[in-house]
Symmetry: C2
C-alpha cells in the first residue's frame, strides 16, 4: 500500500459496480451497469448512481461527460481524478484515457486572463482511432 495514495476501502455496492466497470473494455452507462449487476442484488438506479458518484470522487473511475458513461481509471488511479483527458473515436466510440505528462502539466498550470487558477479539469478529444481511419 503506497504512502502516496490514499486507500479507499470500497463498500459492497461500490465494489460490485467497480468490478464491472473495471473489467469492461468500453465505457459503461449507468442503466447498463444496473442491468448487469441485478444478479448481484443491486436493484435500483440510485444504488448504481451512488456507487458511481463515490467511485468518481475517489478517482477509481471517470465520467465521460459527452457520453454519459463511465470508465475505470487507467492512470494510477486517484492521482489524476481531478485532471482527466480522453480521446474518443467518433465512429467506434472507443475511449482511451490520455496519459501525457506534458499535457497535464500544461493544463494544471494554465491560468486564464483573470489569473484564475483551476482545481480541476476535464478534456475530451474527438477524432478517428487507428482502426477507423
Amino acid at each position: 500500500m503506497s504512502k502516496m495514495q490514499k486507500e479507499h476501502t470500497l463498500t459492497k455496492n461500490q465494489q460490485i459496480v467497480f468490478d464491472l466497470v473495471e473489467k469492461s473494455s468500453e465505457p459503461l452507462k449507468a442503466y447498463s451497469i444496473l442491468f448487469n449487476v441485478q444478479k448481484k442484488g443491486i436493484k435500483a438506479p440510485l444504488q448504481v448512481y451512488r456507487a458511481l458518484d463515490r467511485l468518481v470522487e475517489i478517482g477509481k473511475i471517470h465520467k465521460i461527460e459527452s457520453r454519459n458513461a463511465f470508465i475505470a481509471c487507467h492512470n494510477s488511479s486517484c492521482q489524476v481524478a481531478k485532471a482527466t483527458a480522453f480521446s474518443i473515436c467518433e465512429i467506434c466510440e472507443k475511449v482511451t484515457e490520455i496519459s501525457s505528462a506534458g499535457l497535464s502539466k500544461y493544463l494544471t498550470n494554465f491560468k486564464d486572463k483573470d489569473g484564475m487558477k483551476y482545481s480541476k479539469y476535464n478534456l475530451e478529444f474527438f477524432g478517428l482511432c487507428k482502426k477507423c481511419r
Copy 2:
C-alpha cells in the same frame, strides 16, 4: 458579411432559440429554453433540441457537457466550434468561454502517443470564480 466566415441563415426556430441563448448571461438548459419560447410558438422538446443541435453544429452556441446546458459563442463564432474551452465556477456555476491563443494552439497541435491527431476537443476547467473565492 465577412468572407472568412461562412454565413448560416437561421431558420425561424433556430433564430428564436438563438436569440434566447444569446441574451442570457448564463448557460441555459433545454427545457428552460422550451419554457421560455412557448410564447413564440415552439411547443415541443424536439423543436428545441433540433434547433440546439444545428446551432451547435454551426458554432453559434456550445454545449457545456458537464452541465447539459448551452451558451452562446463569444469567440468570433464558428471558428472555434470544434475547439472549445470553458471555465466553470463550482459555487455560482458561472461559465466563461476561454479565449486563449496559446491554449488552443497547444491543444490543436496535441498528438497522443500513437500520433493520433484530433479534429475536435472540449475542455472544461473547474474552480472558483473571482467573486466566489
